[in-house]
Symmetry: C2
Subunit: 312 residues, 2 copies
Amino acid sequence: MFVNRLIEEIKDKRSPIVVGLDPRLELIPSTIKNKYFKKYGKSFKAAAQSILEFNKGIIDSVYDVVPAVKPQIAFYEQYGIEGLIAYNESCRYASEKGLLIIGDIKRGDIGSTSKAYSTAHLGKTKVEGEKLGAFFSDSITVNPYLGEDCLKEFLGDIKEYSKGMFVLVKTSNPSSSQLQDLVVEGKKIYEKVAEMVENLSKKYIGEYGYSSIGAVVGATYPAETKKIRSLMPSSYFLVPGYGAQGGTADDVVHSFNEEGLGAIINSSRGILFAYKDEKWSEKDYDAAAREAAIKMRDDINTTLEKNGKRYW
Amino acid sequence: MFVNRLIEEIKDKRSPIVVGLDPRLELIPSTIKNKYFKKYGKSFKAAAQSILEFNKGIIDSVYDVVPAVKPQIAFYEQYGIEGLIAYNESCRYASEKGLLIIGDIKRGDIGSTSKAYSTAHLGKTKVEGEKLGAFFSDSITVNPYLGEDCLKEFLGDIKEYSKGMFVLVKTSNPSSSQLQDLVVEGKKIYEKVAEMVENLSKKYIGEYGYSSIGAVVGATYPAETKKIRSLMPSSYFLVPGYGAQGGTADDVVHSFNEEGLGAIINSSRGILFAYKDEKWSEKDYDAAAREAAIKMRDDINTTLEKNGKRYW
């Protein structure tokens, strides 16, 4: 099961963190980019190959420090077909290095369409009897606005292929409160979603008491996180918003249960572009990323320990 | 502006309908498929080339009958990179035939990520100073669960490139009521979303009194549609759920305003696979699709006229 593999990797590496692979071409070291611009001109191919080489450098430098990476597909889609080839190749490369892949795709649609997204990212596509893999994720993020029949379409592939999903419950952005915090019969919308997800997740609980059906819960809302944690005791939380978006280790500590499990904290910009700190130069972007990942891991582990949530 | 072009095309063709390009490989005529299986084996390339040829046949047979097509990207993503090449080529081909493209992608994320989706599907991507197009839509569908700061990220490209978007308000699927119909201070969630979208849409109103920021409102909920129509007088509605999902012309008539404008009705399976009716054979799938599109157009126009909503 996905959640078992995730927990084992977290324990083995002593690291409940995930690196968000959200590449920004303008921040990729020019030593990398110039090589591809020279070869392929100012093209999507050059951009995508730059991203892929950059990602490989990041993956090589963090694969023994973190259990997972989370590529955000939007940052690849903007480079068209070539960008999506780089997405796929980055996922494949990270997977070969033993990392779990959380595809941050936030898909969700009516039944038959959600099924197609599930096939694309978690399952296999049938072509004249052959079963082929389209995109490569161990788990994905899913949007709940269409309700349970949308979410259920992912469950078949989650079961058959030992995959997982994280459903958006409370997102990290400033206007997440606009819909998610509206109050219905004394309960906020995100609590209603939390109940819906918790309900679905019960059939997918692994040996550590957690489910492969998890929740996205932003680090930027610690009070809400406490509430959601109590509503979803068996859901693993994918927590964006640490670092660049303002979330701290003290904020994310509420995502973890008493035994120090139950959450994986994401950082994207803070690790990928750690080299922007004046002590680094761009050629050392990979070493800077490694140092930032280790610092983040230690920050979170220290805070967990301080709160009596030692998981190792 | 997108909405002006849409209305002009609807009036010119006397046709407020859109064909959903949601290809299903198992329903594509074997005369098409076998050619590509022979050439490329049981591969994504064969599947994608079959889809592209099928789509071109549909487009050739309906481009003078309908103003727009709505490819659902999930059905292409499941064939991986090759599938997305077919998505792009289908959009390009339809656009060359004068059709408007509504990319049914239902994206939506935190600010910087939504901006990347906007760049990918509506805008242009900067590569070392060059501006390049990644995917090709005139308008897209967007999910509102993350709130207004997500939606706002699409507005820049909508303005700069004369594009549009349709925000999910009330979807056509059975469990759409689960979140969308929850009541907050006497208002349902979909009414709250309707107000949010109407508010954003006001700055993008074209010469016919409608906005390029529209709403997705399912044909399967006619009572809710009436309510939403009154809350969003200037939003164009993209209406899925006619035909295969159970919506009728009498159901969708409430999506139109008194002058017969304000909505475009989608049919996917009912047109694409009309050849499954026993009077057709699969080699005539394109002629069957044309007849089904004309029948749907006439069904809707007749019902509009009966309700005093003649727009032509």
